[in-house]
Amino acid sequence: MTDATASTNVQAPRPPRNQWWDVWDQFKTHKGAMAGLIFFVFIVAAVYLGPYVWTLDPTYIDIRARNSGPSLAHPFGADQLGRDILARMLQGGQVSISVGLTAMGLSLVLGTFVGVLAGYWKRLDGLLMRLTDLFLALPLLPLLLVIIMLFRDPLRAMFGLETGIFILIVFVIGITSWMQTARIVRGDVLALKEREYVLAARSIGTPSQRVVMRHILPNIMSPIMVSATLGIANAIITESALSFLGLGFPPDYPTWGRLLFDAKDMIQQYPERVIWPGLAISLTVLAVNYIGDGLRDALDPRIRGR
């Protein structure tokens, strides 16, 4: 049976269609989101598969090529020690993108969790929101210093040098950036829980946790999605700042943020060294923003199909 006959023939109800197909159909119509998705897939593929194609070691020092411009041997040029910038960009991208995504994920989960608890259960509201205020009021830099001083060495010993630092950085960024999400989510939950469909769910006897999962969370998707996409950008930039302060990854370990900060001293002589990592960060953030935008539209049935 085709769609045409199904719509004319009342007796044959269409089989239930998985709603994710509708979401995908709508997502495809958002040009910016599709462009963003293609670019993001390209970047992810490049940084994870690229090192197998461009096999130069990012820490290999070719002293004769130092400060050289683009050439066949070094397409993006080489830095002040003669390390290949393309190879460093590829490896740096792995770290930056995974830190960005994981830290965003952590802060999102934490923020949504706190926001929903505070908004839905009145008893927890005061306590959790004061906790949020407390985190907002903490001076971040001294806090980060203390956390890293305390936990860097135990984590390194436990998970190895790079994984230890990765976990630490993700954790630090995650727990210092969930507060905005929590506030936004709480506000929306407060408004939504007075809606009649939530009351209807309660009159059916749906327990609170399922009311939250079924009725509240899907309806606060838009603000969560917006803070998620902004969160990735924030996480990448915070990681750069931490590396710059010497609190993040070790100095010879490339990330996009570190490449940017290493190059900024010589921005007048070699502007391209700032431009490459800068462009990578901004385009990734832009792509993620567009994907978030498209996803938010696609998940809303009221906009879908327009």
Partner: protein
């Protein structure tokens, strides 16, 4: 005609139901008073009948409906549904009672989750209270859609794609899903066009006949209540002032407030309309947080006496099945 569907079994028994909402003010959120939205109402609803609950805006009709279903934690009083006392049951224990009592909401737009398809909305009660397989659930949802007159083909659509009347049908189908005995209809037609109102009310009547449902029909539309209800209770400022069978109440209202309310019903015939003798009430409804001493209606009553301002009127049975709370009859 209606008598043969009615039995003498009391399905819902409400006694001295009070629902007070606290008012908090000041820096320390001290409790400074309470809104007495429902202040001691009592009535019985017999199995298979429709009890109309009427009154002006803000008199506590909707709160009463919700309090009876225990969507609020009531302040005082007892509610018995199908012989089970639910007035002081804690919320988690109410879950197994929920299938017996359901609600149809006023605003069909707001009472349906915009992110769920119609099948998911109607199927939610089944997910919660039955262990049917996916296919059985689907079949039940489709048959419910048939019963309320919705095209089966609409099952995968979303609420915003429907008209107000169709949305209300979705809400009714959801309420019917668990084969309830008692449905509170909280102004189910107030947000609809007049032409659609008739369809929805007729649907409710058909369903009542088919499944032997009992309704508490909350409305401010007196003509509609006259059409659907078997007995009518009139509320004013959180109290039931008069309760009688439909015929008695509309032909021989006793309480001055009921008389004023009924005289406000528009008369379709313009010749008669000119001759209608309306009772105009002066002033506004007093605040439910600070009701007057004595009878709640004493500030606006055209037949007010001295005793009304000091003493609360008792509820008396004037004639069998006709009760009123007024000093004129005590």
């Amino acid at each position: 005609m209606l008598d043969d569907t009615k039995s003498n079994k009391v399905l819902v028994e409400v006694k001295d139901l009070k629902m007070h909402f606290p008012i908090h003010a000041g820096i320390f959120k001290k409790r400074v008073g309470e809104v007495k939205a429902v202040d001691g109402i009592s009535f019985d609803i017999y199995e298979g009948e429709t009890l109309g609950l009427v009154g002006e805006s803000g008199c506590g009709k909707s709160t009463a409906g919700r309090a009876i279903l225990r969507l609020y934690d009531i302040t005082e009083g007892s509610v018995k549904i199908d012989g089970v006392e639910i007035g002081d049951t804690p919320q988690p224990n109410l879950r197994k009672m929920r299938p017996t009592m359901q609600m149809v909401f006023q605003d069909p737009q707001a009472s349906l989750n915009p992110r769920m398809s119609v099948a998911a909305i109607i199927g939610e009660p089944l997910n919660e209270h039955s262990d049917m397989s996916k296919a059985e659930k689907r079949e039940k949802v489709l048959s419910l859609m048939d019963q309320v007159g919705l095209n089966r083909d609409f099952a995968n659509r979303y609420p915003h794609e429907f008209s107000g009347g169709q949305r209300q049908r979705i809400g009714i189908a959801r309420a019917l899903a668990l084969n309830p005995k008692f449905i509170v209809c909280d102004e189910p037609i107030a947000a609809l066009d007049v032409s659609i109102q008739a369809q929805v009310v007729n649907l409710l009547e058909d369903l009542q006949e088919e499944f032997g449902l009992t309704y508490l029909f909350i409305s401010h539309d007196l003509s509609m209540v006259r059409h659907i209800a078997d007995r009518v209770a009139v509320m004013y400022l959180g109290r039931v002032v008069e309760l009688a069978s439909r015929e008695t109440l509309f032909s021989d209202p006793k309480h001055p407030y009921t008389q004023a309310l009924l005289s406000a019903v528009p008369e379709p015939d313009p010749w008669l309309e000119e001759k209608v003798d309306r009772i105009l009430l002066e002033g506004d409804v007093p605040s439910p947080s600070n009701p007057p001493k004595g009878c709640n209606f004493c500030t606006r009553c055209p037949q007010v006496m001295e005793i009304c301002k000091t003493e609360e009127p008792p509820t008396v049975e004037i004639a069998p099945g006709h009760i009123a709370a007024c000093h004129l009859y005590s």
